[in-house]
């Protein structure tokens, strides 16, 4: 495909953004209900795009648009299914008959912790989050997690002071707050997880010797000269250095 063709393709794909949607071009439509009101939207949009298509403008509940920031929590039901489902609006395609609403915020007070002054001990979680003892293992939090994390399992690990397990199980948490909203024991899971990861990172996770050495070298100024030289180079020189490095990858990797 020539350069011009590619640009043409891109322009075509984005034409709705520039010229507005040409309804005749859209083959599949879906009916969704936003806060009870029906809208007909193109079926290949995400919930977020569909809401914008329907005329909503986000001044809240929208951030990265890439599934990372956790701002766009949405709850919905589908026709004929009693389950209350959760999704990130920017990551989930609309479905026919979706009844949905966005949660602007999940109210949660975060205890102030100081990891330097907190002992790396079994009881640390309970000291900051005594409410985790109210967990009855109903697993509602796990079902609510749009990231498919084993939320209840990490709360149970927190109860017994297992920092490693809390960190590992909660690593992909985007703090959307859906677990906390659904929990019958009123636990704020994602704060518990964050505390666990900070503690594990500070006390439990094995230190990386290579990283320590590199940091101390940087502090000692080992790379200062090289860095200054690099900053002075022009674009062509930088490209050449980069290409040389790529060609001699093995050498650079081995050299640490």
């Amino acid at each position: 495909m020539s350069k011009k063709d590619i640009m043409g393709e891109i322009a075509k794909a984005n034409s709705s953004v520039i010229k507005g949607v040409d309804k005749s071009e859209i083959k599949h439509w879906a009916n969704i209900y936003i806060m009870g009101q029906r809208y007909e939207v193109p079926a290949d949009l995400t919930i977020m795009q569909a809401m914008e298509y329907a005329g909503f403008r986000f001044i809240h509940s929208c951030g990265c648009r890439a599934g990372f920031c956790g701002a766009c929590s949405t709850i919905y039901r589908l026709k004929g299914d009693y389950r209350l489902k959760t999704a990130m609006a920017c990551q989930t395609r609309v479905e026919e008959g979706m009844f949905l609403v966005q949660l602007p915020f999940s109210p949660a007070v975060k205890p102030r912790w100081n990891i330097e002054k907190t002992g790396y001990e079994d009881g640390a979680f309970l000291a900051y989050f005594p409410e985790i003892a109210r967990c009855v293992s109903c697993n509602t939090c796990t079902k609510a997690c749009p990231q498919d994390l084993q939320v209840m399992d990490y709360i149970q690990a927190a109860l017994r002071g297992d920092f490693k397990k809390v960190s590992e199980l909660s690593f992909d948490c985007i703090q959307c707050g859906m677990c906390a909203v659904r929990c019958p024991a009123e636990i704020v899971h994602y704060h518990v997880a964050q505390f666990g990861r900070e503690m594990y990172g500070r006390y439990g996770y094995p230190r990386n010797a290579v990283l320590d050495k590199r940091v101390s070298d940087i502090k000692k100024g080992v790379y200062d000269k090289e860095f200054k030289d690099l900053v002075k180079k022009n674009k062509d020189e930088l490209v050449k250095i980069y290409k040389d490095q790529l060609a001699n990858k093995d050498k650079f990797i081995k050299g640490g």
Partner: protein, 297 residues
């Protein structure tokens, strides 16, 4: 080695680490590989005993589902779950019985856990003691002698009650006595071996627990015991850790060492005493009996 599903319970990971350590040592010496469930939740103890609310049974049933899943994945030799804490044992076993016996409860639980594997009801919940109940005393090779050590066995409530969850004859159990004898010590018991220690009342009615513990321990001392053993971290706390409070309330009280039953077996089987945080009282007594001066660290 036989691979068997193992459920530690929260207390063994926090306040009762020596209970787990000595039990795993004992099990390994006796030919079992304990596979801890990779993910397990609270046994449900705190809630299921105090109310009939079905939601509280999700926790124990889910643990059993995970045993079932592990057996399906061939991680275990059989659908068996072993546990140590007598409270966990009681909760898991009772939930299992209830699930098997009540069609109504079963369908309710299945309904609410509809996103997880359905429990088929085939897991058997065993207490550690049951694994070894048919071992012949002479058949275990012991590294250390406990001869002459007199051990008072304390069952408490949850190993024996309610009847259908009992691990032995609920009125006249012998399983702990057998265990003690298997490892070379002498077992003693009195009706106080089965008296409640006061359990959770230790939080809000400590004086009641002090009174009960005093009665139990005095009975042990009067029977001539050198030490008391138990299978429950809460009994352990009530009988051991509040002995100073008992002394204060009952000046005639002398005190007596208290240990988990697995400490006895692990010690007899040769576990390094350095594994204990503090030297258990029974070891000192055992050494004095056999004339050894000091245990090698």
């Amino acid at each position: 080695m036989k691979k068997i599903g193992y459920y530690p319970g929260c207390t063994l990971k926090t306040k009762a680490k020596i209970f787990e350590k000595t039990a795993l040592y004992t099990a390994e010496k006796l030919g079992y590989e304990f596979i801890e469930l990779p993910n397990w939740n609270c046994c449900g103890a705190v809630f299921s005993l105090s109310s009939d609310d079905l939601i509280h049974h999700l926790a124990p049933i889910r643990n059993l589902v995970r045993v079932q899943d592990m057996k399906e994945g061939a991680f275990l030799s059989e659908e068996t779950l072993v546990t140590l804490c007598s409270m966990c044992f009681n909760t898991l076993k009772r939930a299992n019985i209830r699930y098997k016996n009540s069609a109504e409860d079963r369908s309710k639980i299945k309904n609410i856990m509809d996103t997880e594997s359905a429990y088929q009801g085939n897991v058997s919940v065993l207490h550690f003691l049951e694994l070894f109940k048919s071992i012949e005393p002479g058949s275990v090779k012991l590294k250390r002698k406990l001869k002459g050590l007199k051990v008072f066995v304390y069952y408490g409530c949850t190993l024996l009650r309610p009847k259908e969850a009992s691990l032995d004859d609920a009125e006249a159990p012998v399983i702990l006595e057998r265990y003690v004898e298997t490892f070379g010590a002498e077992a003693l018991s009195t009706p106080f071996s089965r008296l409640c220690c006061g359990s959770y009342q230790t939080v809000n009615a400590r004086e009641k627990v002090v009174e009960l513990a005093y009665k139990i321990l005095t009975s042990a001392i009067e029977s001539g015991a050198d030490a008391v053993i138990t299978a429950c971290p809460l009994c352990f706390f009530n009988l051991k850790d509040i002995q100073n409070e008992i002394c204060a309330a009952y000046p005639d009280f002398k005190g007596i060492p208290v240990a988990y039953f697995t400490e006895l077996s692990a010690y007899a089987l040769g576990m390094d005493p350095g594994e204990w945080d503090e030297e258990p009282g029974f070891i000192k007594t055992a050494l004095a009996q056999t004339g050894e001066k000091k245990i090698k660290r």
